[in-house]
Amino acid sequence: MAEFGDAFGAAVGLVLSGDQELGEIVTLSIQVSFAAVALATVIGIPVAALLTVCRFPGRTIAIAALNTLMGLPPVVVGLAVYLVLSRAGPLGELGLLFTPTAMVIAQTLLITPIVAAIAHRVLEDHLVEYGEQFRAFRMNRRQQATTLAFEARFALITAVLAGFGRAVAEVGAVMIVGGNIDGVTRVMTTAIALETSKGDLALALGLGIVLLALALAANALAFAVRSLASRWADGPSEREQLR
């Protein structure tokens, strides 16, 4: 159990020392996960909005499939992306294997279903509220989808955060397609796996604490943005009502 004490010591020591290598690893973790979350949001939320407002045969199956894909094992995604990006694979010409771009691709595949599935649930709830107005205004499906997504934008932050949490914490996919190359594709999670295999458990756990702190900071930031933005958005209309 001495490891936990040592781990906190290691975490504090790492952060205070301003270790340049740690800085690079943390920066790359954030860059890769942010890019993946941004892509997953751009793809996932329109998909979720269309699934919510459109009625077509096989829609239930599509929703069930989306929910199933939330549980995609990262290692399987990593392996699939490896086979595609490998020089022996169909996109080998691009030379993307063992680059951060490959990691972004793998994480995007991994978290898009998560963002879409959670966003779908959020939007279903909003549709109950807005459905009648949509019919009253005779909006088409596309207008309904955009309006719904816009009205639910603050609630959708939950979906984005869930995607970020998964991306920043997963190790299986980025290990395979990134290769954990020092200074090029090493991120927080692969560094933790490496230190564990070297038997330096205190340092591994210390890095884990830094990773947790990072996730906490991202959540706090999202919360702050959400409450500030919703206050700003609601503000003028409330004043108008008073007038």
Partner: protein, 272 residues
């Protein structure tokens, strides 16, 4: 809404572009597929900066088991292969994937286990007797089970010792050397490890070396540049510069100079 989506998409591509340019900042680089023992022991952390300072070529190491490293190189995903299983390495060259194999360095495998030694391995007078003791002693043995160089060697040691019955005492971890040692330390199991990983490993707990020194435990490392005939995209010029440096007097003395806790981990034996 549409405009904001467009904005988001363009900013995403801006981020992707930034990341990819950052990654390509050093345009002279090679990918070396190697084993966990060379990377985890800290050897590469010491010798690679020397090579990069001299040549201007960045070396990107993908450290996996020997079996996986060879598969990466066979798919054309590495420029140099630096592993430790001579028969597989020779097959790699014979199949046309590599140009030429060079010996680089050696150390040895050691049999580790709990210091109480319940199976009495330390008393064994020969390697066969030590393996027999593990097989009949009842205490668990943690095998890599991952087709790595160490796993391949371990399997041939069992078959040479005539031990084919592996039941409950034999546990395949399917993991790297360090992870396997963590498991062995946790369950009080015996295990076979290369000496470099062992010396650099920091979670030995109750484990210690119980058998060593047999000539069958010799562990040779080799280096091969991947053939441009098979894969025209490999950076053969820079790869050759790296191979030449590793087997040069300078590279060899850098390997010899690397020590952990006062002990030399790898013994250079290249014949240029």
């Amino acid at each position: 809404m549409i405009r904001s989506i467009q904005r988001t998409i363009s900013s995403v591509f801006a981020v992707l572009f930034l990341i990819s340019t950052a990654a390509q900042a050093a345009d002279r680089h090679i990918v070396v597929a190697s084993t966990t023992s060379t990377a985890n022991s800290g050897l590469f952390d010491v010798i690679l900066p020397m090579f990069t300072a001299k040549s201007g070529i960045e070396v990107r190491v993908v450290a996996v088991g020997t079996g996986q490293a060879i598969r990466l190189a066979r798919n054309g995903d590495a420029d140099v292969l630096f592993v430790h299983h001579k028969p597989s390495e020779e097959a790699f060259v014979a199949d046309g994937f590599g140009i030429k194999r060079f010996d680089v360095m050696y150390n040895d495998f050691v049999l580790v286990g709990p210091s109480t030694d319940p199976s009495g391995v330390a008393k064994a007078g020969s390697l066969k007797a030590a393996l027999d003791a593990v097989a009949t002693g009842g205490a668990p043995f943690a095998s890599r089970g991952d087709d790595s160089g160490t796993h391949k060697r371990e399997k041939s040691l069992w078959s040479e010792a005539g031990i084919t019955q592996k039941n409950t005492w034999y546990r395949e971890t399917g993991s790297g050397m360090g992870a396997t040692l963590n498991i062995a330390a946790g369950m009080g199991a015996y295990s076979l490890t290369d000496r470099a990983t062992w010396l650099a490993f920091e979670n030995k707990a109750d484990l210690k070396i119980l058998f060593e020194g047999d000539s069958k435990l010799f562990n040779q490392y080799g280096i091969i540049a991947v053939s441009p005939d098979k894969f025209p995209h490999v950076r053969i010029d820079d790869a050759q510069v790296f191979v030449d440096w590793v087997i040069s007097a300078e590279g060899q003395s850098a390997i010899a100079a690397y020590k952990r806790a006062g002990e030399q981990l790898f013994f250079p034996n290249a014949k240029p």
